[in-house]
Protein backbone atom coordinates (compact mmCIF):
# COMPACT_ATOMS: atom_id res chain seq x y z
CA UNK A 1 0.00 0.00 0.00
CA UNK A 2 0.89 3.64 -0.18
CA UNK A 3 3.52 4.62 2.35
CA UNK A 4 4.55 7.95 3.73
CA UNK A 5 8.22 8.15 4.65
CA UNK A 6 9.41 10.69 7.18
CA UNK A 7 12.96 11.82 7.98
CA UNK A 8 14.86 12.24 10.15
CA UNK A 9 13.64 9.85 12.82
CA UNK A 10 15.31 11.90 15.56
CA UNK A 11 16.69 15.43 15.79
CA UNK A 12 18.43 17.08 18.70
CA UNK A 13 18.94 20.85 18.54
CA UNK A 14 19.98 23.66 20.79
CA UNK A 15 17.29 26.13 21.70
CA UNK A 16 17.21 28.87 19.09
CA UNK A 17 18.32 26.64 16.21
CA UNK A 18 16.01 25.84 13.32
CA UNK A 19 14.49 22.42 12.67
CA UNK A 20 13.00 20.75 9.61
CA UNK A 21 11.28 17.42 9.13
CA UNK A 22 10.48 15.97 5.71
CA UNK A 23 7.72 13.75 4.51
CA UNK A 24 7.89 11.85 1.19
CA UNK A 25 5.52 9.65 -0.73
CA UNK A 26 6.08 7.54 -3.85
CA UNK A 27 2.59 8.39 -5.04
CA UNK A 28 0.76 11.67 -5.46
CA UNK A 29 -1.03 12.74 -2.33
CA UNK A 30 -4.44 14.36 -2.29
CA UNK A 31 -3.77 15.99 1.05
CA UNK A 32 -1.33 15.93 3.92
CA UNK A 33 -1.85 16.61 7.58
CA UNK A 34 0.65 17.30 10.35
CA UNK A 35 0.27 16.30 13.99
CA UNK A 36 2.34 16.96 17.10
CA UNK A 37 2.63 14.60 20.03
CA UNK A 38 4.18 15.91 23.24
CA UNK A 39 6.06 13.40 25.42
CA UNK A 40 3.50 11.31 27.27
CA UNK A 41 0.68 12.90 25.30
CA UNK A 42 -1.44 12.14 22.30
CA UNK A 43 -1.17 13.34 18.69
CA UNK A 44 -2.81 16.72 18.13
CA UNK A 45 -3.72 18.09 14.71
CA UNK A 46 -1.64 21.04 13.54
CA UNK A 47 -2.58 21.74 9.93
CA UNK A 48 -3.72 20.34 6.60
CA UNK A 49 -2.30 21.10 3.15
CA UNK A 50 -4.27 20.37 0.00
CA UNK A 51 -3.00 22.48 -2.89
CA UNK A 52 0.14 21.94 -4.93
CA UNK A 53 2.94 24.22 -3.69
CA UNK A 54 0.87 25.37 -0.73
CA UNK A 55 2.66 27.12 2.13
CA UNK A 56 1.06 27.80 5.47
CA UNK A 57 2.47 29.41 8.58
CA UNK A 58 1.62 29.16 12.24
CA UNK A 59 3.84 31.55 14.18
CA UNK A 60 7.32 29.96 14.00
CA UNK A 61 6.08 26.89 12.09
CA UNK A 62 6.07 26.82 8.29
CA UNK A 63 4.42 23.99 6.40
CA UNK A 64 4.96 23.30 2.70
CA UNK A 65 3.37 20.94 0.21
CA UNK A 66 5.51 20.12 -2.81
CA UNK A 67 4.58 21.12 -6.34
CA UNK A 68 4.16 17.47 -7.32
CA UNK A 69 2.19 16.77 -4.12
CA UNK A 70 4.59 13.97 -3.24
CA UNK A 71 6.43 15.63 -0.40
CA UNK A 72 5.92 18.02 2.45
CA UNK A 73 7.99 19.69 5.10
CA UNK A 74 7.59 21.29 8.49
CA UNK A 75 10.12 23.95 9.43
CA UNK A 76 10.41 25.47 12.89
CA UNK A 77 12.33 28.71 13.22
CA UNK A 78 14.25 29.41 16.43
CA UNK A 79 13.14 26.34 18.35
CA UNK A 80 11.98 26.59 21.94
CA UNK A 81 11.80 23.91 24.61
CA UNK A 82 8.04 23.89 24.14
CA UNK A 83 8.60 22.51 20.63
CA UNK A 84 9.80 19.19 22.07
CA UNK A 85 7.78 16.25 20.83
CA UNK A 86 7.19 13.95 17.90
CA UNK A 87 5.90 15.41 14.66
CA UNK A 88 3.90 13.17 12.35
CA UNK A 89 2.84 13.72 8.79
CA UNK A 90 -0.16 11.81 7.48
CA UNK A 91 -1.10 11.61 3.84
CA UNK A 92 -3.68 10.05 1.61
CA UNK A 93 -3.36 9.13 -2.04
CA UNK A 94 -5.85 10.29 -4.65
CA UNK A 95 -7.41 6.84 -4.80
CA UNK A 96 -7.26 6.12 -1.10
CA UNK A 97 -9.68 7.16 1.56
CA UNK A 98 -7.58 6.69 4.70
CA UNK A 99 -4.70 8.67 6.09
CA UNK A 100 -1.34 6.92 6.35
CA UNK A 101 0.91 8.18 9.09
CA UNK A 102 4.65 8.59 8.73
CA UNK A 103 6.86 7.16 11.45
CA UNK A 104 7.37 10.57 12.99
CA UNK A 105 10.34 12.79 13.80
CA UNK A 106 11.17 13.13 17.48
CA UNK A 107 12.55 16.56 18.30
CA UNK A 108 14.58 17.24 21.40
CA UNK A 109 15.45 20.84 22.25
CA UNK A 110 18.01 21.56 24.91
CA UNK A 111 18.25 24.99 26.52
Amino acid sequence: GQQVMQIPQYQHVQEGEDFTTYCNSSTTLSNIQWYKQRPGGHPVFLIQLVKSGEVKKQKRLTFQFGEAKKNSSLHITATQTTDVGTYFCAGSSNSGYALNFGKGTSLLVTP
Partner: protein
Protein backbone atom coordinates in the same frame (compact mmCIF):
# COMPACT_ATOMS: atom_id res chain seq x y z
CA UNK B 1 -15.12 18.12 28.55
CA UNK B 2 -12.82 15.57 27.00
CA UNK B 3 -13.73 14.98 23.37
CA UNK B 4 -12.38 11.44 23.05
CA UNK B 5 -12.02 9.60 26.33
CA UNK B 6 -10.65 6.14 26.87
CA UNK B 7 -10.25 3.97 29.95
CA UNK B 8 -8.19 2.71 31.56
CA UNK B 9 -5.25 5.07 31.10
CA UNK B 10 -2.80 2.54 32.50
CA UNK B 11 -3.07 -1.22 32.49
CA UNK B 12 -0.53 -3.76 33.72
CA UNK B 13 -1.49 -7.37 33.25
CA UNK B 14 0.02 -10.83 32.94
CA UNK B 15 0.51 -12.81 29.77
CA UNK B 16 -2.47 -14.87 28.82
CA UNK B 17 -5.04 -12.57 30.40
CA UNK B 18 -7.96 -10.97 28.56
CA UNK B 19 -8.48 -7.22 28.84
CA UNK B 20 -10.66 -4.48 27.39
CA UNK B 21 -10.16 -0.82 26.68
CA UNK B 22 -13.20 1.39 26.37
CA UNK B 23 -13.55 4.52 24.24
CA UNK B 24 -16.21 7.16 23.94
CA UNK B 25 -16.39 10.35 21.87
CA UNK B 26 -18.79 13.22 22.47
CA UNK B 27 -18.04 15.06 19.22
CA UNK B 28 -20.91 13.58 17.27
CA UNK B 29 -18.47 11.99 14.83
CA UNK B 30 -19.40 9.08 12.60
CA UNK B 31 -15.98 7.44 12.39
CA UNK B 32 -13.83 5.97 15.15
CA UNK B 33 -10.42 4.30 15.13
CA UNK B 34 -7.98 2.29 17.17
CA UNK B 35 -4.28 2.98 16.70
CA UNK B 36 -1.32 1.17 18.26
CA UNK B 37 1.87 3.07 19.09
CA UNK B 38 4.93 1.00 19.93
CA UNK B 39 8.04 2.00 21.84
CA UNK B 40 9.56 3.55 18.71
CA UNK B 41 6.57 5.88 18.41
CA UNK B 42 5.31 4.22 15.22
CA UNK B 43 1.59 4.93 14.95
CA UNK B 44 -0.27 2.13 13.19
CA UNK B 45 -3.96 1.98 12.48
CA UNK B 46 -5.64 -1.19 13.64
CA UNK B 47 -9.35 -0.71 13.02
CA UNK B 48 -11.78 1.88 11.81
CA UNK B 49 -15.55 1.96 12.22
CA UNK B 50 -18.03 4.20 10.47
CA UNK B 51 -21.47 4.37 12.02
CA UNK B 52 -20.87 1.11 13.86
CA UNK B 53 -19.66 -0.69 10.74
CA UNK B 54 -16.12 -1.98 10.35
CA UNK B 55 -14.41 -0.26 7.40
CA UNK B 56 -10.70 -0.79 8.08
CA UNK B 57 -9.26 -3.96 9.51
CA UNK B 58 -5.49 -3.97 9.19
CA UNK B 59 -3.38 -7.06 9.66
CA UNK B 60 -4.05 -7.53 13.34
CA UNK B 61 -4.11 -10.85 15.24
CA UNK B 62 -7.64 -12.07 15.72
CA UNK B 63 -7.02 -11.91 19.46
CA UNK B 64 -7.97 -8.26 19.00
CA UNK B 65 -11.69 -7.72 18.62
CA UNK B 66 -13.26 -4.27 18.36
CA UNK B 67 -16.88 -3.68 19.25
CA UNK B 68 -18.97 -0.63 18.48
CA UNK B 69 -22.32 -0.68 20.31
CA UNK B 70 -23.16 2.75 18.86
CA UNK B 71 -21.31 5.36 16.84
CA UNK B 72 -20.09 7.16 19.97
CA UNK B 73 -18.35 4.10 21.40
CA UNK B 74 -15.62 1.82 20.14
CA UNK B 75 -14.20 -0.70 22.58
CA UNK B 76 -11.20 -2.95 22.10
CA UNK B 77 -11.02 -6.41 23.60
CA UNK B 78 -7.77 -8.34 23.62
CA UNK B 79 -7.62 -12.07 24.33
CA UNK B 80 -4.62 -14.08 25.49
CA UNK B 81 -2.34 -11.10 25.90
CA UNK B 82 1.27 -11.46 24.77
CA UNK B 83 4.41 -9.52 25.66
CA UNK B 84 4.44 -7.93 22.21
CA UNK B 85 1.04 -6.38 22.85
CA UNK B 86 2.68 -3.91 25.23
CA UNK B 87 2.14 -0.50 23.67
CA UNK B 88 0.05 2.64 23.88
CA UNK B 89 -3.36 2.22 22.31
CA UNK B 90 -5.05 5.37 21.02
CA UNK B 91 -8.71 5.66 20.30
CA UNK B 92 -9.59 8.40 17.82
CA UNK B 93 -12.51 9.82 15.90
CA UNK B 94 -13.21 11.98 12.87
CA UNK B 95 -16.30 13.63 11.39
CA UNK B 96 -16.66 10.84 8.86
CA UNK B 97 -14.40 8.54 6.87
CA UNK B 98 -13.35 11.26 4.47
CA UNK B 99 -9.59 11.63 4.27
CA UNK B 100 -9.70 15.42 4.69
CA UNK B 101 -11.07 15.19 8.20
CA UNK B 102 -9.06 15.98 11.28
CA UNK B 103 -8.45 12.99 13.50
CA UNK B 104 -9.04 13.62 17.21
CA UNK B 105 -7.09 11.30 19.47
CA UNK B 106 -7.86 10.18 22.98
CA UNK B 107 -5.18 10.42 25.65
CA UNK B 108 -4.08 6.83 25.17
CA UNK B 109 -4.13 3.64 27.18
CA UNK B 110 -0.70 2.43 28.25
CA UNK B 111 -0.77 -1.37 28.24
CA UNK B 112 2.09 -3.32 29.80
CA UNK B 113 2.07 -7.11 29.59
CA UNK B 114 4.38 -8.88 32.02
Amino acid sequence: DTAVSQTPKYLVTQMGNDKSIKCEQNLGHDTMYWYKQDSKKFLKIMFSYNNKELIINETVPNRFSPKSPDKAHLNLHINSLELGDSAVYFCASSQDQGKWNTIYFGEGSWLTVV
